[in-house]
């Protein structure tokens, strides 16, 4: 009932603003200016579940929601001392009527202040989205939180990135630039818990849905648990290079605190890495490479079977455009488990089998039609070592400057129940989204 009312409010709001342009153009009172600086969208989304495993809370669909996103930026011109810092305040919030969860939620996606205390320095404080690295849907040195649930059920790509409450300090030099990100309160990835998407629950030893009852323990908010991520970067000619360092926690609960009570936690993690990106010689297009050493600080020897081992991660990427708005992208990703002998020696029956080298290939193809208003794309993940795959076809039509229709699907394949994509096989879906931007 509640969500129906909200849906109605959203529709009324759309109609109101779509008619308001003429009105506001005529009047020049201060309200016009304020209203002009508010932007956002309203969106209705529905994601139908193919005949799946019927384990989640609702089994005919896994996405039915209406969303209102509003954003506003404010750049004060006085007082003079503040204006001299080139300040910007930005706020972006989502009101979500989620019929799946039967809730009405308000979520602040971004809310930060950004100033330049010195000409070569930026400080961004507050809730913000953080991204770096070279991967396309694959992340090595981008240690910031992700929302894979949104990704798998057909929400916009924007929602793959979850915000962090952080301070970002950037120094821009002629020779080298640096970002230091301080995250006082740990934010995990949005985990798949079985209520909306079924997954492989290793405590139950099978695919589980809403009956999964794992207990998630997050690190306490205390100074010692502050996460720090840094990036040092510079260009060499047309090549961009960066080195990264991070100390904090795994964003996924890859540690087991207590097997009998099914308590899982986010172990301590350090990541050191580097990346390079630039034009591919002679063939054209953009090539990139990224590497990372993921140091599992609470299980450096690899002997503790309850905590994820350290790993080396390697990524090669290539993207190229072709005439008539064709674009392709390819990536090759390898995750090498370190101390693999210890992992094997300490594994017990029922533990998820793993390979020392997990390989993943991705392929993206995009074609634009009708003066770039119609976009057809297909993204494929294929993991030969796990024998699983995930495909994301999508068709997006920008009807005009306001309306956008998107249809797409998320389809999973797998030989085994416990692999990354194979475990999601019961969650195949197609979705449709209608968005009005203003």
């Amino acid at each position: 009932m509640l969500s129906k009312i909200c849906g109605f409010i959203l529709i009324a709001f759309i109609l109101a603003i779509s008619n308001s342009e003429v009105l506001f153009a005529e009047s020049a009172d201060p309200w016009t200016h304020i209203f002009d600086s508010v932007h956002g969208f309203t969106e209705a989304a529905y994601g139908h579940k193919f005949a799946g495993d019927k384990l989640a809370q609702k089994n005919s669909y896994n996405l039915l929601e209406q969303r209102l996103q509003l954003k506003v930026a404010y750049r004060p011109q006085k007082p003079a001392w503040l204006a001299s810092l080139n300040p910007e305040f930005f706020y972006k919030g989502d009101l979500l009527a989620d019929e799946y969860k039967e809730t009405l939620r308000y979520h602040i996606r971004e809310g930060y202040g950004l100033v330049s205390p010195l000409s070569w320095m930026d400080v961004k404080l507050g809730r913000q989205i953080l991204t770096w690295g070279t991967g396309d849907y694959l992340f090595i040195n981008d240690v910031f939180p992700k929302d894979y649930e949104s990704f798998f059920i057909g929400r916009d790509d924007e929602y793959l990135k979850a915000p962090s409450d952080a301070g970002k300090f950037s120094i821009h030099g002629r020779l080298v630039s640096m970002d230091v990100v301080v995250i006082p309160s740990f934010t995990p990835d949005v985990s798949i818990r079985g209520d909306r998407l079924s997954f492989y629950d290793n405590f139950l030893g099978r695919i589980a849905g809403k009956e999964s009852n794992r207990i998630f323990t997050e690190p306490a908010v205390q100074p010692a648990n502050t996460e720090i991520a840094t990036r040092l970067y510079r260009n060499f000619g047309e090549y961009e290079t960066a080195i990264y360092a991070f100390k904090g926690f795994f964003n996924q609960p890859v540690g087991i605190k207590n097997e009998s009570t099914k308590e899982i936690f986010y172990p301590k993690l350090a990541v050191f890495g580097a990346s390079i990106r630039g034009p591919a010689p002679s063939v054209g297009g953009i090539a990139s490479g990224e590497i990372g050493y993921s140091d599992s600080l609470q299980d450096r020897s690899g002997k503790n079977r309850l905590i994820e081992n350290s790993a080396m991660k390697y990524l090669l990427g290539y993207e190229r455009d072709f005439p008539k708005d064709w674009r392709i992208g390819m990536q090759y990703f390898v995750e090498q488990m370190l101390n693999f002998d210890e992992f094997k020696a300490n594994s017990q029956p029922g533990d998820i089998p793993r390979d020392e080298f997990r390989q993943l290939l991705t392929f993206r193809i995009t074609k634009l039609f009708r003066l770039q208003t119609l976009e057809m794309s297909l993204f494929t993940f294929y993991c030969p070592t796990d024998s699983d795959a995930y495909i994301r076809p999508r068709l997006a039509w920008q009807v005009n400057d306001h309306w956008k229709f998107t249809v797409g699907a998320n389809i999973f394949f797998g030989k085994h129940d416990w692999t990354q994509f194979g475990q999601l096989e019961g969650n195949d879906n197609f979705y449709i989204r209608v968005r009005y931007s203003f």
């Binding site: 600086s37 932007h39 956002g40 969208f41 930026a73 750049r75 080139n86 910007e88 950004l114 330049s116 930026d122 913000q128 989205i129 953080l130 991204t131 770096w132 790509d157 924007e158 793959l160 990135k161 950037s170 821009h172 002629r174 630039s177 970067y233 260009n235 047309e238 961009e240 990106r277 630039g278 034009p279 054209g284 297009g285 953009i286 990139s288 993207e319 190229r320 455009d321 072709f322 005439p323 708005d325 674009r327 003066l371 770039q372 208003t373 920008q398 005009n400 400057d401 306001h402 956008k404 968005r435 931007s437 203003f438």
Partner: protein, 273 residues
């Protein structure tokens, strides 16, 4: 001897590029290449840097209109050579805040980056194909940032009047025919301002399919500047109108700003809200 000759042509061109803006009656055009080079310098390279606010109206066959509003900053590294571009989108709402950084190179692919604020992503974009549509309009990337002089063979085929303007007509034929959707283009270049007033695009069968027309020229800070133009796609019965507002030259853009920071922290002193 040949070397001396070509060296003197280069010196002449470099010299002229800084000079033509003032010496608008220099009409000693000999070949098509010279005329075309004058046009490129007058249109893509005037002054050292420039800031302009660009509005585009894209009208399709059904008469439906899409609009774009963006701010463009340009800095020449050398006149007639490499350039920096920065483009910030104000409208429509769904791309507001998106920005592009382009380092234009002659003789190799441009370096191009895009910033998507919603996911804080700086994306490197492959730019092998410069003939793609710019922001969904009838203009291509090449129309916006220029096609290198050496890509085509330029032939001066006559003189014609367009309204009150006296023009030189140049036929430009791609040297590598497979790479473009046109077989040749015809330019009407004003003798006084060296700006092109009309460009006809002929497809591979020799049929006229696209026409560019300048609709308004204003002299801004002593520089004749095209402030209104239209690109008509005859084949698909659609067109894009483009209008420049708040154009100013030599606003003090320096090369050190063209870095990743520019994308994440747009220069408000030039782009405004």
């Amino acid at each position: 001897m040949k070397k001396i000759l070509s060296a003197s042509v280069i010196v002449f061109m470099l010299f002229a590029s800084g000079f033509w803006a003032k010496n608008i009656y220099a009409q000693d055009t000999q070949s098509g290449k010279t005329v075309m080079n004058e046009m490129l310098l007058a249109y893509y390279y005037p002054q050292t840097d420039a800031k302009s606010e660009i509005s585009m109206r894209i009208v399709n066959r059904q008469g439906q209109v899409r609009q774009r509003r963006l701010t463009m900053l340009r800095l020449n590294q050398t006149s007639g050579g490499d350039q920096f571009y920065y483009i910030y989108f104000h409208e429509p709402a769904d791309v507001k805040g998106m920005s592009f950084l382009v380092l234009k190179h002659l003789g190799r692919d441009d370096d191009r980056w895009m910033y998507l604020p919603a996911i804080d992503l700086v994306k490197r974009i492959s730019s092998s194909d410069k003939r793609t549509s710019f922001a969904g309009s009838d203009f291509t990337y090449e129309d916006v940032s220029g096609r290198a002089l050496d890509e085509d063979a330029h032939e001066l085929i006559g003189e014609e009047s367009l309204g009150t303007y006296s023009c030189q007509v140049v036929k430009s034929t791609p040297k590598r025919p497979g790479e473009t959707e046109f077989s040749y283009r015809k330019f009407w270049i004003d003798k006084v301002t060296h700006l092109s007033l009309k460009v006809e695009h002929y497809d591979l069968k020799g049929k006229l399919y696209k026409v560019y027309e300048t609709q308004e020229i204003q002299t801004i800070q002593g520089t004749p500047t095209i402030t209104k133009a239209v690109m008509k796609d005859i084949e698909n019965e659609r067109y894009t109108e483009i209008a420049m507002k708040n154009v100013s030259y030599n606003v003090g853009i320096t090369s050190d700003i063209f870095q990743e920071r520019l994308l994440r922290r747009p220069p408000r002193q030039w782009i405004g809200e």
